[in-house]
Amino acid sequence: MTGNESTGHRRGMGLVPLFNLVMLVALFAALAWGYLAPVSGSSGLAHRVDAALVESGVESRVTAVLLNYRAYDTLLECFVLFLGVVAVWSLRPFRYDRHDPSPGLILSSLVRLLVPLMVLVGGYLLWAGSNQAGGAFQAGAILGGAGVLLLLTSSPLLSALPRGLLSCGICLGPVFFLMMGLAAMVLGRDFMEYRGEAAALAIVALEVVTALSIGLCLAALFGGRRPEAGQEGAGKAVPSQDGGEGR
């Protein structure tokens, strides 16, 4: 936000802030009280997670939870990302078109250097996710970061993308998730039931596709408006001019 136009005005000093303060302190005290109170029994789900790990087809426990035990949550999460993009794109086109200064030599050469590196790191994280920290989401975040860099520098790479590809890419994650889940059903199992050998394969495929889709969605979210919005009805999508607002 470059402007200094605050929408509200400061309230006069009085009892209200004091009251707020007291309430917030009380809230914090209550939360801490709830947190610190001794709890009997429950040990969480760690043991169950471990016990079923062999069946799940992955070694990393977090990945097992994310993509197998609670894959339904992850499916919906992919839909949340997709929904985020749809919601952002559905907004009225943003008229405020600041003229971007050209990225400059340092930034553009840095991008040329960084982006391939980031893609590499993403790939590594994806691979690492099978048995240690890492996985589709981390990789997706890195890929998204690369996309953001490209957006910021108005890279010609982006304008070279075919028009429909972006939409398809946004949908890729949820579509693939759904298809894998339904494939399990077709094979006579439950929806999204992956076990053993097949599970390992399925989850790797899911991870790759999810990472790509997440990266794309994050970059699209950063864009802050639908690609064609800048030039209603014009032929080509040029997302490169959209950067900057999300900052």
């Binding site: 936000m1 402007g3 136009e5 605050s6 929408t7 509200g8 005005h9 400061r10 802030p17 707020n20 917030l24 809230l27 914090f28 939360l31 801490a32 947190y35 610190l36 040990s43 969480g44 789900l45 760690a46 043991h47 997670v49 426990r61 977090v62 097992a64 939870v65 994310l66 609670r70 949550d73 992850t74 999460e77 949340v80 990302l81 929904l83 985020g84 919601a87 952002v88 907004l91 009225r92 943003f94 008229r95 405020y96 989401f137 997440i214 994050l218 979210l221 950063f222 802050g224 408006r225 607002e245 999300g246």
Partner: protein, 107 residues
Amino acid sequence: MSVPPALVYGLTGLFLFVAGLAGLISCAQLLRKILAANIMASGVFLFLVTIGHGRGGVIDPVPHAMVLTGIVVSVSSTAVVLALACRVQETANIHDLLKRRAGGDRE
């Protein structure tokens, strides 16, 4: 007697939640409200992570998975709220401009 780190993280998480809430309620500027909401979210996530560590060295992966999911959800909401904020701000600017212009004409 040493304080277990999980406790510190947990309390910090709760504190961030409350601090974010304070910001959300009292900040007038939209951007600050959004940031405050993000701080709240971070507090909750931190708190969730500490839950997974609470029990005798065994790390529970489920809260971790919840945090990952939660972060993605939160990113999505933040993106939408920022995009909306841009529109709202733009409208406010235009109104401001119009008002100023109208005022200038009268003077």
